[in-house]
């Protein structure tokens, strides 16, 4: 009987350890999958921001239009920005921030958010040579 009891205990410990290790493996794998998913979406947002900033209006790159307007305190044409972002981001679930300027897409039902940021070179000023332009996509 004593031998059987030890055997049962050994079996229990073995089962417990196995379940614990299996769970650890699954959790680990799940976290990596989440990370991959995040990276994938992040890359897409980064690419969307890159496409937006590289697009042109009247022969001028959007990055230059934004930088010049910010430095000269001129208002940024919301229509131009919105039109481009709407074309690039299908679900229209986005927010673009640069300096004090912010614009959000028409879709407000956004869940997960992915953010990409690039540094925008401004016309020269030693105290303010670049600014961050950030795109948040849901």
């Amino acid at each position: 009987m004593k031998g059987a009891a030890i055997l049962v205990w050994a079996l229990l410990i073995f089962t417990f350890l196995s379940v614990f290790m299996l769970t650890t493996v699954f959790v680990y794998r799940y976290r990596i999958t989440v990370e991959v998913n995040y990276q994938y979406n992040y890359n897409n947002v980064q690419l969307a921001l890159l496409s937006f900033l590289s697009s042109t209006h009247d022969g001028e790159q959007m990055s230059k239009i934004l930088a010049d307007n910010i430095v000269m305190n001129k208002p940024i044409d919301v229509m131009i920005v919105e039109e481009r972002l709407d074309k690039i981001i299908d679900n229209k679930c986005y927010t673009l921030n640069v300096s004090d300027f912010s614009i959000a897409g028409s879709n407000i039902d956004c869940t997960k958010k992915y953010t990409a940021t690039y540094k925008l070179p401004y016309p020269y000023n030693p105290r303010n040579i670049t600014g961050d332009v950030t795109l948040v996509v849901g």
Partner: protein, 292 residues
Amino acid sequence: MKKGGLPAIAIAAIVMVAITLVWGIVIHWAIGENESVVRSVREREIIKLINDMEWNKRVMPQVLEHSFYQASYSLASKGGYFNSNEVPSLDCVPYWKIYDKIYLPENIEENFNKTFIKYLNDYANALRLSLPRYNINYQENDNGIFVTLTSDENLEMERGIAKIEDESDFSGQFDTNVFKLIEKGKSFINDDKVSFAVKNSLGVSCEEIRDKIKNEVKQLESEGIEFDVEDVQTDCGGQVAAKILVKITDITKYTVYDYIENTTNLRNIQLKFYIITGNSELINVETTVCKN
């Protein structure tokens, strides 16, 4: 223990073997999956790096433009000198002529290169970009200057697992020509019209001589060339000297930073230099150290 049934030890052994088998399969699957997942993360990291490189390449023409116009503005406002302390200067504006002594800037292209590279590096540091050593070539044309930056080295970006390289050559056409502006200033000094104008002002009464000099010099003004007569000294006995700030201005305005006003704004690129001229050294040369 029942007779005819499996002994407990056998059941335990079967369970353990079964669990170990399942565990082995899971581990094998997880490791296999894990490898592809890790590879995927790494691939994403590389894509991120490529996107960053792409952004840097797209933003370089903009950096080139800002740096070029800022360098043109700075060099012109410092009378063509990279360091205006090389010669007597006042508020970073050099004296090009002090009576008989001439201080015309030499090696304008080299001075421009130094100024241009200073601004390029300022941008590169702010954008965390590592620029290679560039050879800069200027081709003057009817529309301004065509600038080419070439290097034997590539643009490099490195992040943990990967390092990428891309071609580093850039070029741009800019519609201002600071070299022409400086040449215009030099030919103005060589013509020495201001000295003639000052000397021609003699022969009027002592009270009138200041206004006479201002009028004579004013008449020399033409499109893009202005004079500020800042000081006139005379002994009322036929000796006279004048200190004049010469400003030669480009037509177009660019968004540039001014070190005196400490602001970035739309400004004309303007070559500035002082001249002190006359038939006697009645004006002392006032100088200050330029810190820009």
